[in-house]
């Protein structure tokens, strides 16, 4: 038994890196900044890896779940106690491995990618800050501490999306991400309040114990809490209807998109649902909503991804779509499958973004795929790693995405007729996924260059090494197999009762999934393989549908017209004019005007004439004297009596 894993140091190292680089970074030489930034995730990763080896039997084994609580209490209000407690169990271990591992790789990649940037130290300070909050979120043993991390990653995301704040679009994209996330956070916060009211505690373990002691307790307030938490998750994980911030978040540097907006932060919602899964298990309706939101988001985002021309936007919509898969997995209570997909997705989507970053780097900042093409010859490493990622996300066996996507679809299929509908939506989404990913692949790497004046160059090795490692993970990451993976996660995510499916059924479903992936490839090959003109013909054939997709279903416009504009109008006219100018301003003017008027009258007294002052002084003294002696002077003989008494 190893009693001291010191998991509290996992968030500490990135925080120290943030402080050092944030305060001193601008004055330190570049190589010092680099090493500070790289050692923070490296040390954290080492601690996590140490714990993982311990758990897998290669070292000293702590008893799981392993809890570390700060001896100083945080909040103690009557019966409610909230502490800084970190919990390391199977679930948080997997998540931490992804966060620190992929985080480390992306830090290394960033060294090459951001080398020329003026805000080098600031960038790494923010990146370390993100890792601090993300590990805090993952390790949190209660909902409030998780909320701290939740808000913190939102802040880091805001800072990094708006990293190039001189660009107007980047600054407003950061604001958009933050504000939309705030709407979700509102739901999360309400959920936390309801948890306090219902359970009197925020510790996940205690909530689980209370629910386990009362298995018949279903629905009611639990559904409300679960839906509130889901609202928080849809904000952070970019699900319908709060997904709109993620495509705009691509304004940030590409490694940031890879780390925050693909691999880790956006999966926080999935992690949160898995973490609080006991609640969802007791609220079947909420669980159904999770599944429907996930499936709807998956297919919705995939259709938009079909027609985007910005390479990063395609990946952004792909991320939203894949997150929808994870929600679908959570919604059919296949939490381990969702976490499995979270992990493999972290590998191949981080790889896709980093490879896209390498492409963008190579062609001098161009992100429009219509101006790329033929990059296969110039960027061999990027090309081959990207190919691995595309095959993985499209779901070709034996790459990682195949196993995890298959696990989710299989779990959905087993949920009765409604589940079959979800499965069908998931299958169509898989087709679309394969289609848009190969479209990206063909448009970027195949054919002839459409911008002959650009001379692309392969990226430095600091950028290629993470690509290669992630490519290996994307290929091998799924080989654990869903059975062993869910066996491992079982203590955290609970046992799922699965009706024993016939082996044939599983085989048929797998064949169907592979078939649609192949079909997607074939369609992409037909339309984008030889000449892209065919795709334009199709677009011209159905202009209405094309315009609808190209404009992303006009969701931004609809939100703008129905929510943003009325809100702005309300703020401007009701709050701005009526409340601020008329009411508050009126009161201020009244107070100020009274003082001015009084002053204008009273200043006549200050004549500067000494004798007038003296006269007022004497008058005042006389008045006070009169006031004080008035009672004894009331009688006619008052003064005489007084003098007589004194002269006695």
């Amino acid at each position: 038994m190893n009693a001291h894993l010191h998991i509290w140091m996992i968030p500490l190292f990135p925080f120290a890196g943030f402080l050092l680089n944030g305060i001193l970074g601008a004055r330190l030489p570049k190589w010092v900044v680099t090493w500070i930034a790289l050692f923070a995730p490296l040390f954290s990763f080492e601690i996590v890896e140490n714990a993982a080896r311990g758990l897998l039997g290669f070292g000293t084994l702590p008893s799981f779940p392993y809890v570390e609580t700060c001896p100083v209490p945080w909040i103690a209000l009557g019966t409610l106690h909230v502490d800084f407690s970190f919990v390391l169990d199977q679930l948080s271990l997997v998540m931490l491995l992804v966060v620190t591992g992929v985080g480390l790789l992306i830090h290394i990649y960033s060294v090459g990618y951001m080398h020329e940037d003026r805000g080098y130290a600031r960038y790494f300070a923010y990146l370390n800050l993100f890792l601090f909050f993300m590990t805090l979120l993952v390790l949190a043993g209660n909902a409030l501490l998780m909320f701290v991390g939740w808000e913190g990653v939102g802040l880091a995301s805001y800072l990094l999306i708006g990293f190039w704040y001189q660009k107007d679009s980047a600054a407003s994209a950061g604001k958009k991400a933050f504000i939309v996330n705030r709407i979700g956070d509102f739901g999360f916060l309400i959920g936390i309040f309801l948890l306090i009211g219902t359970f009197g505690t925020l510790t996940f373990a205690e909530i689980g114990a209370k629910l386990a002691a009362n298995p018949a307790w279903q629905g009611g307030i639990l559904t409300v809490i679960a839906l509130c938490l889901l609202m928080g998750a849809t904000g952070k994980s970019a699900q319908l209807p709060l997904y709109i911030w993620l495509p705009d978040a691509m304004e940030g540097p590409t490694p940031v998109s890879a780390l925050i907006h693909a691999a880790t932060m956006v999966t926080a919602g999935v992690y949160m649902i898995a973490r609080t899964h006991v609640l969802f298990d007791h609220a079947p309706f909420a669980l159904g909503v999770v599944a429907v939101v996930g499936a709807a988001t998956a297919i919705f985002a995939a259709t938009i991804g079909l027609v985007q021309n910005d390479i990063k936007r395609v990946l952004a919509y792909s991320t939203i779509s894949q997150l929808g898969y994870m929600f679908l997995g959570c919604g059919v209570a296949a939490y381990s499958a969702a976490i499995f997909h979270l992990m493999t997705h972290a590998f191949f989507k981080a790889l896709l973004f980093l490879a896209a970053g390498s492409v963008i780097h190579a062609v001098g900042g161009e992100q429009d795929m219509r101006k790329m093409g033929g990059l296969r010859k110039h960027l061999p490493v990027t090309f081959w790693t990207m190919t691995a990622a595309v095959l993985a996300i499209a779901g070709f066996p034996p790459l990682a995405g195949f196993f995890s996507k298959d696990a989710i679809l299989f779990a959905a299929f087993q949920q009765g007729p409604g589940g079959m509908l979800l499965w069908f939506v998931g299958l169509v989404t898989a087709l679309l996924t394969s289609l848009y990913m190969f479209r990206l692949w063909y448009m970027t790497f195949m054919g002839e260059s459409r911008s002959p004046e650009v001379h692309p160059h392969e990226s430095p090795w600091s950028m290629l090494a993470p690509l290669v490692i992630l490519a290996l993970l994307s290929i091998c990451g799924g080989w654990i197999g869903i059975e062993r993976f869910s066996q491992f996660l079982m203590p955290s995510t609970g046992v799922r009762v699965v009706e024993s499916a016939t082996p044939h059924l599983e085989l048929y479903l797998t064949v169907a999934a592979v078939a649609v992936a192949l079909l997607g490839w074939l369609i992409a090959h037909r339309f984008y393989g030889q000449k892209t003109a065919r795709a334009d013909e199709l677009a011209n054939a159905v202009p209405g549908a094309y315009r609808l997709l190209a404009n992303k279903y006009y969701v931004d416009e609809i939100y703008g017209a129905t929510i943003v504009k009325p809100l702005l109008g309300f703020s401007r006219f009701v709050l701005g004019w009526v409340v601020d100018v008329a009411i508050l301003g009126g009161i201020a003017w009244l107070l100020g005007g009274t003082a001015l008027l009084t002053g204008a009258i009273l200043q006549r007294w200050q004549s500067g004439n000494l004798r007038s002052y003296a006269a007022w002084l004497a008058l005042g003294a006389a008045a006070i004297l009169l006031f004080m002696t008035a009672p004894s002077m009331l009688g006619a003989a008052g003064i005489n009596m007084h003098l007589n008494w004194m002269g006695r």
């Binding site: 004549s607 004439n609 000494l610 004497a618 003098l643 004194m646 002269g647």
Partner: protein
């Protein structure tokens, strides 16, 4: 105790003090020369001193006499400062008429 003080009634002293004080106030209010105004203040202070001493003697209390010394001391200090100011004002403006020294206003 067959002193003169015993034969003069208390009220006379107080009346004298009141008359002196009133003269000081009137002088302060109506005179235009700054030095005269200043002397009026001294007159008021001394009127008060007189009533202090009177009461101290009447009630055989020494506190009143101590107060008189305090007042004298303050008056001496005030005279020093006040006269210095008056001289400075006269040098600067070549007049001592209070009506014309009225810069301290809005």
């Amino acid at each position: 105790m067959s002193s003169f003080a015993q034969e003069v009634p208390l009220s006379w002293y107080l009346l004298l003090s009141a008359v002196l004080f009133s003269l000081g106030v009137i002088g302060f209010l109506i005179k235009r020369n700054l030095i005269t105004v200043f002397m009026s203040i001294e007159l008021m202070l001394n009127a008060v001193n007189l009533s202090f001493v009177t009461f101290a003697h009447e009630w055989h209390a020494v506190k009143g006499q101590i107060f008189v010394f305090f007042v004298m001391m303050v008056a001496a200090a005030e005279a020093a400062v006040g006269l210095a100011i008056i001289i400075a004002v006269f040098r600067a403006r070549a007049t001592l008429a209070v009506d014309r020294i009225d810069l301290m206003k809005l």
